[in-house]
Symmetry: C2
Subunit: 228 residues, 2 copies
DNA sequence: GTCTATATGTAGATAGAC
DNA sequence: GTCTATCTACATATAGAC
């Protein structure tokens, strides 16, 4: 968290003051509140007033810490996107360390599970973020954010799948990967639907059960789409 | 379109005047413009001012014809939802007329293809509507519209699939149906992504090719998820 | 860094003339 | 049914005191 050391404070060279704890706390509180409200109400539906109020901060502090509403939104998305991408790439590295040619199921699992685990672990901030990602992915207005935050990692996994199926049509691989991602996102956007449609069945499926179903679904679906 | 007849005009009983052609045209122009702008910018992002302007109408005419912004939005979604549901149910009837026990693939096809055909035929109004449906499906604020417009038909198809797989877990069927629907919706929300990711492959997949891939993907995925 | 006050724009809705 | 004019509320952003 880069707290300043006494030695640094004594340096005679004029220097940029380190961010104070309080300032950092305000900035983070704003990011957290924005994450929640953007996820609940969408970009236009969440006002900076409400965000500031939910963060216990002043309206003016949003411009001070995060330039403006648009930059705030981008920072909210980017913050966790980096962590998520890292988790996915770590899972991929681990996989390849054990097996130079991982299975399709293992690849999909490495990509899908970090998201599901974060979203399903009950952390409300990650749950909100999961809905936010779904929003960004579906809205053409934010497609630059998608390109920057999500597409590079997706590209790495698609390249791995291409290596596994060198004879398959590459665009078919890309398309079925998108089907898989959108099925993944549906678990956070359509949770209420799942609950409603499962109600007749009498039981609520647990998140890890859902994750298994998703991976099975996507693997089989992709194999079928690549054959066609 | 319920034009009034001279005979009716001469009736001595006072009656509700039929809607004039011009009024109807204005009302429809507003619906069309709203469909496009809501799809492009979301509910909050599209103002009634812009909608009225795009429709060549006055702002006040929106309240006059459609009560207010929220009712306008619901009417936009409902208008085509009825047509879409009918196409799906017709396809199902046709299917069952030939075969009391249709295949899973045939059932999925009956549900998925009407949407894809409408969205893929190049009609820009239907394309906008397809994006709008994706928006409504993903946004919890509109889940009442989903329940009213889409869930009943989805329920009919899920019931058919349950009949096909009486031994399978019902909630697993519901969940994989949701995966399928969200993969379907991704074709309209992620078209730019498909284009970007397919670019490396050099060719743009045609819509009917995509539809085949989607049906194959969902059928195989669902079978796998039901086994698990 | 924070806060008050305010500038400036735009939102949705409607009253009342035509 | 349409259109002009306007009401009221709320949006984002910033200037300047503390």
């Amino acid at each position: 968290m880069s707290q300043e050391s006494p030695a640094a404070a004594r340096a005679d060279q004029p220097r940029r003051r380190a961010v104070s704890k309080r300032s950092l706390a305000t900035s983070l509180a704003i990011l957290d509140a924005a994450e929640r409200l953007f996820a609940e109400r969408g970009y236009d539906g969440a006002s900076v007033r409400d965000i500031a109020s939910a963060a216990g901060a002043q309206i003016a502090s949003i411009s001070f810490h995060h330039v403006g509403k648009e930059t705030l939104f981008e920072r909210v998305v980017e913050r966790r996107a980096k962590e998520l991408s890292q988790l996915r790439l770590d899972a991929l590295s681990m996989l390849k360390a054990h097996d130079a040619k991982p299975t399709l199921k293992a690849l999909l699992s490495a990509f899908l599970r970090p998201y599901l685990e974060k979203a399903g672990a009950g952390d409300p901030q990650w749950l909100a973020y999961a809905r936010l990602v779904a929003m960004v992915s579906a809205d053409i207005r934010w497609h630059r954010i998608s390109e920057r935050c999500f597409d590079p990692t997706a590209g790495v996994f698609i390249a791995e799948i291409v290596k596994l199926f060198p004879q398959a049509d590459r665009s078919a691989i890309a398309v079925s990967f998108i089907f898989s991602v959108s099925a993944m996102l549906s678990l956070s956007t359509s949770q209420w639907r799942i609950e409603a449609l499962s109600a007749a069945a009498g039981n609520q499926p647990a998140m890890d059960r859902l994750a298994d179903q998703l991976v099975s679904f996507c693997e089989a679906g992709m194999r079928a789409a690549l054959k066609g």
